[in-house]
C-alpha cells in the first residue's frame, strides 16, 4: 500500500513538473530523467519516408498477401528478408520458404555482416540476427549441391510419401490413361508394400492373362521404375524420410520443422528441371493448407514465402504449373480465414494469376523497367499516374508502398492509419544476404 502511495506521489510530482515545463515551452525534467522514451512497434515496420514517417504493415486478424515487386537487384529480397525476420521474431508467426531456386536461403542462418545495412537496421534500434533455418532437400538422383556450402548447415533430404503418390497418381504419372483404373483397383494392396520388390510383385498381378493386360502391366511398371530411379518415390531408404516427428506431431516435414520453431526452406534449384516439379510443389502446398485448416498450427499464422513466384505459377497457361496454381489459388482465396497467407517476390506482377493478385493486400514496388509493367499495379491499387511514373525512377533500395487496406504510420509522437501510397527507403534484412556477400568477395 505504501509503495502504491509512493508511486502515486511520484507520478503527481512528475505531472506537475511536466505541465510547468510544457507551459514554459521547455523540455525540463527532474535530474536523472530522460525526456526520450521508447515506443516498441507492434506492427511490422518495413520502410521510412524522407520526412521520417515510419510505415508498418498492420497486424490484422485476417492478413492478405504481401507482394514485393520490381527489377532484379533493387532490394526486393532484402526487404522481404526484413519483413520475414520480424514476422518470425516479432509476431512469432510460422514461415515456410517453398521455392528457394537460387540457394539463397543458405546464408539466412548467418547474421548480416554488411556495415551499411547494420547502420540502417539501427533506425529501429535493431541488430543483425540470423533465422533458424532447416533446409529440406528434395530426394532426387540428379540433385547436385555444393557440399562446401551445406557442410555446416542443417539439411534433411525428404521424399514424397507413397500414399501421396497413390492418391495423386494422375499428377505423378500423367500419361497412364485408361491403365490408371487397373492400378487404382490394386491401391489397397499397393499401400501395404514395404519394399520395391513387394511393389513390383503387386504390379505383376495386374497381368491376369487377358488381352492387353500385359501392356498395361508393363506401362505401370515402367512408370514406377522411373519414379524410383528419379528418387521421387522412396520405399526402402530410411535416411530419406517422408515424415518428421516433433513432440506429439508426426507428419509433413514442413509442419514438423515449423513446430520445432524453425523455418523450413525447400531447396528447389534442381526441381525446376524435373517433370514432377508441379506434382511435388502442389503436394506440399496442399498439405500445408490442409494442416493449417485442420488446426495443426494451433492458431499461429503461417506465411508461405515464394521468391520469384512466376517460376511456380504464371498468368499465361503455357508457362504455369496447373496443380501448383490450383493449390496456390486455394491458399490465396481461402487462406485468410484459415491462418495461412502468401508473401512473394516477383519481377513481373502482371504475370501473377489474377486470383493471387486479388488477394494481395500489400504491395511494395521497387523500380520497374517500363510503364507497361506498372499497369497491373495501377489497375489493382488504383494509383495516380504520378506514382505510377515514379515507380520507373526509383533508386536502389527505394520503394513505393501500396495497399487496399491501410498502413500504420508513426511520426514523432503521432500514430495513424493511412492508405498511402508512400515512397521511402527499405530496411535491409537482419540476416545475411547471399548475393551481397558474393559481391563483397
Amino acid at each position: 500500500m505504501a509503495i502504491i502511495q509512493d508511486v502515486n506521489r511520484i507520478s503527481e510530482h512528475r505531472r506537475i513538473i511536466e505541465s510547468m515545463a510544457k507551459g514554459m515551452g521547455k523540455s525540463f525534467l527532474p535530474p536523472g530523467e530522460s525526456g526520450i522514451k521508447r515506443k516498441y512497434l507492434e506492427h511490422v515496420p518495413f520502410m521510412s519516408t524522407d520526412d521520417g514517417t515510419v510505415i508498418c504493415i498492420p497486424k490484422l486478424p485476417e492478413m492478405g498477401g504481401i507482394a514485393l515487386i520490381g527489377q532484379t537487384g533493387t532490394g526486393k529480397t532484402l526487404a522481404a528478408g526484413y519483413i520475414l525476420d520480424n514476422l518470425y521474431y516479432l509476431w512469432k508467426d510460422y514461415i515456410a520458404v517453398l521455392n528457394d531456386s537460387q540457394d539463397e536461403t543458405f546464408t539466412w542462418s548467418e547474421p548480416c555482416d554488411n556495415p551499411e545495412f547494420i547502420f540502417r537496421q539501427n533506425y529501429f534500434h535493431q541488430t543483425p540476427m540470423p533465422l533458424p533455418m532447416i533446409y529440406l532437400l528434395p530426394n532426387s538422383d540428379s540433385f547436385e549441391i555444393n557440399e562446401e556450402v551445406i557442410k555446416d548447415k542443417n539439411t534433411v533430404k525428404i521424399s514424397i510419401p507413397f500414399e501421396a503418390v497413390m492418391n495423386n497418381i494422375e499428377n505423378f504419372i500423367p500419361d497412364l490413361g485408361n491403365s490408371e483404373r487397373y492400378l487404382l483397383a490394386k491401391k489397397d494392396e499397393l499401400l501395404n508394400v514395404e519394399s520395391e520388390a513387394e511393389l513390383f510383385q503387386v504390379i505383376d498381378t495386374l497381368d491376369s492373362g487377358s488381352k492387353g493386360m500385359l501392356e498395361v502391366k508393363n506401362k505401370i511398371e515402367k512408370s514406377f521404375r522411373n519414379l524410383l530411379n528419379e528418387g521421387i518415390l522412396n520405399l526402402s531408404n530410411i535416411t530419406v524420410p517422408s515424415y518428421l516427428k516433433v513432440g506429439e506431431y508426426h507428419g509433413n516435414p514442413f509442419t514438423a520443422v515449423m513446430k520445432a520453431e524453425c523455418i523450413p526452406s525447400f531447396i528447389t534449384s534442381d526441381l525446376y528441371t524435373q517433370k514432377h516439379k508441379d506434382a511435388i510443389m502442389s503436394y506440399y502446398i496442399n498439405e500445408l493448407f490442409e494442416e493449417s485448416k485442420g488446426g495443426a498450427m494451433k492458431g499461429t499464422r503461417t506465411w508461405l514465402y515464394f521468391d520469384e513466384l512466376t517460376k511456380v505459377v504464371h498468368a499465361d497457361p503455357q508457362f504455369t504449373s496447373p496443380q501448383s496454381e490450383k493449390a496456390l489459388n486455394n491458399v490465396a482465396s481461402r487462406g485468410r480465414n484459415n491462418g495461412i497467407s502468401l508473401i512473394y517476390a516477383t519481377q513481373r506482377y502482371g504475370e501473377i494469376p489474377k486470383t493471387i493478385r486479388d488477394q494481395t493486400k500489400f504491395v511494395i514496388a521497387f523500380r520497374h523497367k517500363n510503364a507497361d509493367e506498372t499497369k497491373s499495379i495501377q489497375d489493382d491499387f488504383g494509383v495516380e499516374k504520378t506514382v505510377r511514373n515514379n515507380i520507373l525512377t526509383l533508386r536502389k533500395f527505394e520503394c513505393v508502398a501500396l495497399t487496399t487496406e491501410y498502413f500504420i504510420c508513426y511520426k514523432d509522437n503521432d500514430v495513424w492509419e493511412d492508405k498511402g501510397p508512400f515512397i521511402g527507403k527499405i530496411i535491409p534484412s537482419l540476416h545475411k544476404n547471399k548475393f551481397l556477400s558474393e559481391l563483397k568477395k
Binding site: E110, I118, P132, N154, L244, T386
Partner: protein, 188 residues
C-alpha cells in the same frame, strides 16, 4: 559499393561514420568469429528444447543440438519519442478538399510556395520546381515565390484538410514523390 545507395545525405554519412566508429563490435564478423563457428539453428533448437526426429524416431542427423548459447539476440524494433509531447493516436480522417489556395491562406494560415529543384532531385521529366505548403509567417514563405492560382486553376493541385485531426497537406504531382506532401498540424 552500396554506400551511396542507402546513405544519401551528408548528415546520414556523418551518422554512419560515427555509428561505425562507436559500435564496430556490432558487426558479427568482428566478434571473434564466434557467430561463424556456431550453428545458429542447432543452438536455437537446444535453447527451445525441441528435437526433430525421423520416421524411426532418430534425431535427424545434421542437427547437432549445440548447448552453447548463440552470442546474438533479437531486439524488438522501437522508435523514440518525447514524453513531454505525449503520444497521439489520430482519429479516422474527415477530409475536405480546398481547391483555392486563397482560402487555405485565409482560413488556415498556410500558403503554397514554389521551390526550384535540381535535376538530381526531380521526379518527373521536365520538372523544375516543387510545391510546398508552409505557414504564411514562416522563413520559407519569405524566401520562395508563392504560388496562388497557377496549378490550382487546372485542378492539378489542391489542399486536403483533415478536420478530425486538424491538419492539412498539399496534394498533386509536384507536391511530393508519392503525389502528396507531408501532413502539417494546424495548431503547431
Amino acid at each position: 559499393m552500396c554506400f551511396s545507395f542507402i546513405v544519401t545525405t551528408h548528415y546520414e554519412k556523418y551518422l554512419y561514420t560515427k555509428f561505425i566508429s562507436i559500435s564496430y563490435n556490432l558487426i558479427p564478423d568482428k566478434k571473434g568469429d564466434a557467430t561463424r563457428q556456431m550453428n545458429f539453428s542447432a543452438s536455437f533448437l537446444s535453447f527451445m528444447n525441441k528435437k526433430i526426429f525421423d520416421e524411426l524416431g532418430h534425431p535427424i542427423d545434421t542437427v547437432s543440438y549445440e548447448t552453447k548459447k548463440y552470442p546474438l539476440s533479437y531486439h524488438k524494433p522501437y522508435i523514440e519519442f518525447d514524453i513531454l509531447k505525449k503520444e497521439k493516436i489520430l482519429k479516422e480522417p474527415i477530409i475536405k478538399n480546398i481547391r483555392e489556395f486563397k482560402n487555405v491562406e485565409e482560413s488556415l494560415g498556410f500558403i503554397v510556395i514554389s521551390v526550384p529543384i535540381s535535376p538530381g532531385e526531380k521526379w518527373f521529366k521536365g520538372q523544375r520546381v516543387m510545391y510546398l505548403l508552409v505557414r504564411k509567417n514562416s522563413y520559407e514563405a519569405t524566401k520562395y515565390r508563392r504560388t496562388n492560382y497557377i496549378e490550382a486553376s487546372k485542378g492539378q493541385h489542391y489542399c486536403e484538410y483533415d478536420s478530425a485531426n486538424n491538419r492539412v497537406r498539399l496534394v498533386g504531382a509536384k507536391a511530393g514523390r508519392a503525389g502528396a506532401g507531408p501532413w502539417l498540424e494546424i495548431n503547431d
